[in-house]
Symmetry: C2
Subunit: 248 residues, 2 copies
Amino acid sequence: MNETIETLLNHRSIRQFKDQPLSDEQIRTIVKSAQQASTSSYYQAYSIIGVTDAHIKQELSNVSGQFYVRENAHLMVFCADFHRAQLQSDEELKEKMSENLQNTEHFIVATVDAALAAQNAAIAAESMGLGICYLGSLRNDIAKVSELLGLPDYVIPLFGMAFGHPDHEPEKKPRLPLDAVYFENQYADDTAIEEQIDQFDEHLNNYYQSRSENSRTDTFTGQIHRKLSKPKREDVTDFVRSKGMNRS
Amino acid sequence: MNETIETLLNHRSIRQFKDQPLSDEQIRTIVKSAQQASTSSYYQAYSIIGVTDAHIKQELSNVSGQFYVRENAHLMVFCADFHRAQLQSDEELKEKMSENLQNTEHFIVATVDAALAAQNAAIAAESMGLGICYLGSLRNDIAKVSELLGLPDYVIPLFGMAFGHPDHEPEKKPRLPLDAVYFENQYADDTAIEEQIDQFDEHLNNYYQSRSENSRTDTFTGQIHRKLSKPKREDVTDFVRSKGMNRS
């Protein structure tokens, strides 16, 4: 196993960081690594906002309800972004592009571009011994995040990422059995998947009971069902549409 | 610079592969690496279909119009997937979850989960000396791809990935200047971004004129405007809705 694969397999989310900043060089390396990820049609349809302003960090932390949005060595917000495409175009072209950018195809393109860049950022950071945590919690109030960062139309703040020197060592969280997520040629039938999930429910329950922090009784199926049975972030749909994307 | 960052910064898409298969061990390592990526709310809301059947590969290649969808050492299709969540639930719970899964929030969750897993797969493969190419072209006929792979509701085939031993050495494609994609605290104003893009247009034109394969005159702005002024994959919106996602 090479070093890179060790880094990938060793991932765990880090939520407590030492009081030690990232160097400018580290931040540049992280962003450069993010930029080199694949990008659909060469659009590079994403932007990254590095947040260093204490007031903005506090406000973002309030949106998320998570202290580590504020208490970290660096914070980035990853955005799907087709705003750059609108620049240096006349009114006629702008109108045509706006029309085309409305469909779900372009929302997928920009969301995937941002996510690939983010995952490269995560891997780059982890390879340097830093820890990271994705912050989907910023979508708790997506309009507020957009306003705080001054995001124009065609820019959607998808999630944040907290970076820093790890100050705890959480256990590695188990994943579904490979055969529950990887299929050959055809999607597996429900019975086969259910068998895999049953196994995993038992395995995960053992993990939860035995872990040193937050020990509890729980299963994968139980969690997923609990979470999805409640409405969540119902304003995201309209927010994205208000920015000119994913409307038709 | 460590090995992992070298791998990240050295990325280029590979479209010609040697006639040399991947071992089962390599495929497992790639999938295991994909699985260890971060996942929103622990949903693991994605699936990967490994395609080995010659007929399905040919059909997918027809959809994409790209020979390397067929001619590679291995092919995977990455799907946003909330189907697993529907299993082992009674009618009442199923209905509640279906209602909640319709919003754009859950479409973002599953799309990002799939993309993070895919990028880990790409990095794992590249760290082993393999080459990869993302295949957004499968969305040329997303309904056909779904049918070929037998995908149930709540499963969206987002893109493919071709893997293999590189049989060409394309130049590394330039990226936008860092200051055109990374901003501090606030989104940059248009003039500042336009200056960066002007520079990049010139730089990219030089790259296109000097490169050994497919030399031409072109700019970033020119390409982006050309591509976005034409309607593209307008059926993706309705397809995604027909699968129960991103509707309201």
